[in-house]
Amino acid sequence: MNSTDTSHPDYFHKVVDCQWACPAHTDVPGYIRLIAQGQFTEAYMLNRHSNIFPGILGRVCDRPCEPACRRGRVEDKPVAICRLKRVAADHRDDITDLLPQAPAKTNGKKIALIGAGCASLSVANDLLPLGYEITIFEALDTTGGLMRTNIPQFRLPPKVLDEEINYIIDMGADLKTSHRIESMKDLLAGNDYDAVFVGTGAPRGKELKLPGRYDADNIYIGIDWLESVAFEHVKEIGKKVLIIGVGNTAMDCCRSSLRLGATDVKVMARKPREFFKASAWELEDAEEENIEIIVNHSPKEFVIEKGKLVGMLFEQMEYDIDEKGRIDRGKVIGEVTIPCDDVILAIGQNNAFPWIERDIGIEFDEWECPVVDETTMMCSRDGIFFGGDSAFGPKNIIWAVAHGHEAAISIHKYCNGESLQERLPRGVNLVSQKMGLHEWSFSNDYDAVSRRLMPHVDLLERFKKIDIEVELGFTAEQAVEEVERCLNCDIQTVFTAKLCIECDACIDICPVDCLTMTESGDEDDLRRRLTAPAENKEQDLYVSAALPQTGRVMVKDEDLCVHCSLCAERCPTGAWDMQKSEISIPYAKDEAALTASRLAARG
């Protein structure tokens, strides 16, 4: 193996598993350390820098960071990253003065954002401070998109939503609510806008066309039903409710049903549990509320008697799962009718663009998704950008935010006649954290405490109203303990081969046996020859240059390093050092600064 090129910005970024997994690359260890120091406002602002909705995402993020968290590999449970984000949001001071502000004079460029959901708001957040004139068109009479219509209030209080959305709108966006764009052609015909961004989500719930579907009223599409509940158009539901599908929308549907009067709610899954789409924690929260989840039942028909829905017929399934964990098509082993008053279909959602004409140069693929460049977010027609669910189908809020940041860069470059592909690269900066002979700037000791449990409102209390937020947020004591679980993966073990005297001190002290000095070899061979076998190929080997005395190499398996600093502390020559890696992710403001300096140089 060649020695590792640590100057590549991705190398140390990948070591910070949470930040690497986050679509918006939130500096997770950075804000967790700020929380540990009680600097909640600073932690909030560091969060906001990348993910712009810390209060919202601290409650409802899909948290790709947590399955990636190294702590989950070292022990069982990852750090409660998401809920720590909420701690920062809950305890912050007034941040109005710290927010970016739009300049007094705009730059004259007009941008239309269609949809007032998370994707459009991210674009607005990045472009308003640069002087762009932003108009947001929203079909509903309120902002937030699916964050407001599809996420129940008992998980995400409207107050939190309003606050964080208004931080952006109040920078000076022209918000046009109850203004549905019926035709893209018409919008473009006026030539009023320099660029258009589409952030209209994936608004069409999937249908289940089985016998009886249209013969009774009490069958609903999940996301439409949730929207009706959010706007209080629906205030009750029957006693017995069946939810078809077992994704996160299904979890919101079943828990909402309980709050609208249902007493017996069953979530019907076609496959076994390990194939559920819902996040583990959403399943846990639903089951805590005595939701019954029934596996291996495939819906066959709606049972209607005298024009009234009385139940649903299911095929009972049996599956074979091979050793690679793949499931077969299954076979039917029986049928069963489960009585119910209402059925809610939560089996997925699709993009829908009936308002975009197909003859205006915007290409669509076979699934009716627009053809969008994954880097620039621009579609096949210049000047029109997509982001969030509307771009590549349903993902989640944090992906929409990431798309928004990238689209904002593209829109800026497009409006300035710059190449959209030539974007500022990411960078990495390393700073030693050594404070003294045995002192580091961070809490390097490994704290064996297990993951703190989120306190919930009592089961009897929480159903009294639909807007009682179930999660109470971590107490101060819990937050103090949970932050110490973070392994500070951004504080990197950095090795300088020419200083090493090969004394073995680092290898002897490493608690997780991740270091080895050995003859170099190809990667597969090397992975087998290490102090402890390096079986997780998703994690890199850090291979040094040849060591001065023997020509061997120092190899570090990044997989399970707990960043305890003992290697650096026991190193007599400072060949190992603990250095904080700061990953710089370029935003529209950075591109704008470059544009400005280019223009200034040109005179």
């Binding site: 022990e75 002192e439 000791d445 064996a448 002897d508 997780v512 005395q549 023997t550 003992l566």
Partner: protein, 351 residues
């Protein structure tokens, strides 16, 4: 030294030994020696060897005198017995312990100062008695604990960090041990664990006195260019004459060894040491040959390493003194001490 203890977390794939223990179960407290000290590596090698041998921690006794080396028993085998004795007197305390309880495994850790200056007499006599113990001499050529004065193993011409070069002749512990008739003599290097761990295992399982002279650089006072006991110098002049693999009784000798060049030697417990000649002229069972070879190598400035001499025939202290099989500590007091009357009878026999 470190302010934090080694975290209680480990790689999920770490193996257990035949007792079901992890290597971490054989550790001690975190070292307070200088970072990079060779002694810490020797400590790690002892932990590895004892873990692999599957010795029950409470069946082992770690003995030491005074010096940096003699601090190290605190850093391994927290659950074993131990005795940190007077400077240079570890051999006699170990002799007493072994006389009373021959059931335990004895590991003595000493240094070049503890063994070859203040403890030279004790060192010579423990060899003469062929006490069943593993005697590890962590040899760095300086008195590290008192700021790096030359020790008795400092080579002629070696320099300290400051001051004149050493002019006095060094004492070579290996040559002394061969001369005195030790039955297991090896030399290793703290920076070469793949060689050191089998040497320690052999030394522990050898019945009789086993000397392990380990070049263990003093990173603070003797790891510079004028030193002949630095990491760099030792690596440059390191010459392994014989490779010794330790094979436990339960394992067969695998046939990967080249015919004619290998030589298995059976130890008392049924385990074997398989020698593989690296230098074809070397015979580890000939005291005279070993002595000559060592002499020549010293003149050539080479650091000869490996298991240099072994004799499995000579009995240990208990064999030589004809003591009974049962450890004295296991014999009831009444039996061990028959009383004043019996003593009087005994004394009468000599009148």
């Amino acid at each position: 030294m470190s302010y934090i203890a080694k975290p209680k977390v480990s790689h999920p794939s770490v193996p257990r030994n035949e007792l079901g223990l992890f290597k971490r179960d054989y550790e001690g407290v975190v070292s307070t020696l200088c970072a990079g000290c060779g002694h810490d590596s020797v400590t790690a090698a002892i932990i590895q060897a004892v873990f692999e041998l599957g010795i029950e921690p409470h069946k082992l006794c770690k003995m030491s005198g005074i010096g940096c080396s003699s601090k190290t028993p605190a850093y391994f085998l927290s659950q074993s017995h131990g005795f940190n004795s007077v400077h240079g007197r570890m051999p006699s305390v170990t002799t007493g312990a072994n006389a009373a309880n021959s059931d335990l495994t004895y590991i003595g850790v000493s240094g070049d100062g503890d063994s070859l200056s203040i403890g030279m007499g004790q060192f010579a006599h423990v060899i003469r008695r062929n006490l069943d113990m593993c005697y590890i001499m962590e040899n760095n050529g300086v008195y590290g604990l008192t700021k790096g004065q030359y020790s008795a193993t400092a080579d002629v011409g070696t320099t300290a960090k400051k001051g004149p070069a050493n002019k006095q002749m060094p004492i070579d512990p290996v040559s002394i041990a061969i001369g005195l008739g030790a039955t297991y003599i090896a030399r290793g290097f703290s920076g070469a664990k793949e060689q050191l761990v089998p040497l320690i295992k052999g030394a522990i399982m050898h019945k009789g006195f086993a000397l392990l002279d380990v070049i263990s650089p003093c990173v603070t006072f003797n790891d510079h260019e004028g030193s002949t006991k630095s990491y760099a110098h030792t690596r440059e002049h390191f010459h392994q004459v014989i490779n010794a693999d330790f094979v436990p009784p339960s394992e067969e000798i695998v046939a990967a060894y080249e015919e004619g060049n290998t030589m298995p030697i059976r130890l008392h417990d049924g385990s074997k040491i398989v020698f593989r000649r690296v230098d074809k002229d070397y015979d580890p069972t000939s005291r005279a040959a070993a002595f000559t070879f060592l002499r020549d190598s010293v003149n050539a400035g080479e650091i000869i390493t490996g298991l240099l001499y072994i004799d499995e025939e000579t009995g240990d202290m208990h064999d030589l003194s004809g003591s009974i099989e049962t450890p004295l500590s296991k014999i009831p007091y009444e039996e061990l001490n028959p009383g004043a009357e019996e003593l009087a009878n005994l004394m009468d026999r000599y009148r």
